[in-house]
Symmetry: C2
Subunit: 220 residues, 2 copies
């Protein structure tokens, strides 16, 4: 792939974190454009960013063909246009199981912690930080338990679905980061913890970590 | 595909509706096992169903290889193992755009109307039907507006991404059904309405409609 890739990114966005991992696994360089999602900045709602992505969400990958949102669509596109190393297992059923694992995170866990959802809970129901935390614990806890059960039913492996990282690990690591950030206890999920630790030690994952991004505040 | 497919299904589940459309488009027969999700029945929470799908969600497709949840993973598996007719455009960028459209529904609109989310809003915040409706209108409205903008930026076509239905239409039709069910006005979204009407007239979509399922209550 010779074209220049541009990623509209935010260090703490789980969805952007997934795409950074995918780009790193493929060995694809990209120009990073940070979009500050923090309440108070909300740069994703600016007119300038609306021109990039009318959905005003992060990440957006800009390629020679146009601008694309939705992290899983971006990752599937990367895998189809730049096949090595693959982001999904070769076996059709294993691919399906890995996609289901990734989608459980993307459709059932991650949305419940989105800033827009938390903001709506505050505006509509007057939810304060204690109630938002209870909300996160409800969804993150049940979601991680279901993922643990899915992995526990499989033979042991270094990564979620084998000896190389795939889409499942790409979604798991940012979700585990998010859980730790909000003090969700992951010790009831030993398989998830082991797989997360293995993936986080992989150079492509390590370089994508929030704290290593240019827009992360320096920790002094 | 010679194996027997079994679908654990619920007539009004949007996610199950997607899978029914996909199976019909592929011309694949299946045995239907209705799981009554209605509050009061909640058969998805039974021990019997937990043995089928530990995540206790609908749909589940049971094949010779095992049981698979997550509608988009099921549809991708169908497309990989039974390629004709394809559920995604051939062009890689168009595939990516169609997947992004489908994922916008699956990750941002649909989860907010899930029974489990509405139940949690009731339990945690005492939300009554009026507040649940305001919640739905917030997410369904913003989500449909974003989808309309995505289609409006494309050349006109019968279906969302061309002259044959794809994953985008498969996700749109159940979401539009859900909007109508809850009285969300779709008239501000003419492209979505036109594409939905075209798809609903397609035999594979028509046969998958909620009211045509064996567990739908008869309308007397």
């Amino acid at each position: 792939m010779s074209e220049t890739l541009e990623l509209y990114d935010y260090w703490r966005s789980s969805a952007a974190y997934r795409v950074r991992i995918g780009l790193n696994l493929k060995g694809l360089g990209y120009a990073s454009h940070p979009v500050n999602l923090a309440p108070g900045a909300s740069e994703q709602l600016s007119e300038a960013y609306r021109a990039v992505n009318p959905q005003q969400r992060v990440p957006t990958l800009v390629t020679g063909a146009g601008a694309l949102g939705q992290s899983l669509a971006i990752l599937e596109w990367l895998d189809e246009t730049c096949p090595e190393p693959p982001l999904l297992p070769a076996d059709p059923w294993l691919r399906a199981e890995a996609r289901a694992f990734a989608l459980s995170i993307a459709c059932e866990i991650h949305p419940m912690g989105n800033l827009s959802v938390l903001r709506q809970l505050g505006q509509q129901f007057g939810a304060g930080e204690g109630e938002l935390q209870a909300w996160r614990e409800r969804w993150f806890g049940a979601g991680m338990a279901a993922l643990e059960a899915q992995l526990a039913a499989r033979p042991a492996s270094t990564y979620a679905f084998g000896d190389t990282p795939c889409l499942a690990d790409i979604c798991l690591v940012p979700q585990a980061y998010n859980c730790r950030r909000f003090g969700i206890d992951l010790s009831p999920y030993p398989r998830l913890c082991a797989v997360t630790a293995a993936a986080e030690a992989h150079p492509a994952f390590a370089a994508a970590a929030p704290e290593r991004q240019p827009d992360a505040p320096s920790l002094k």
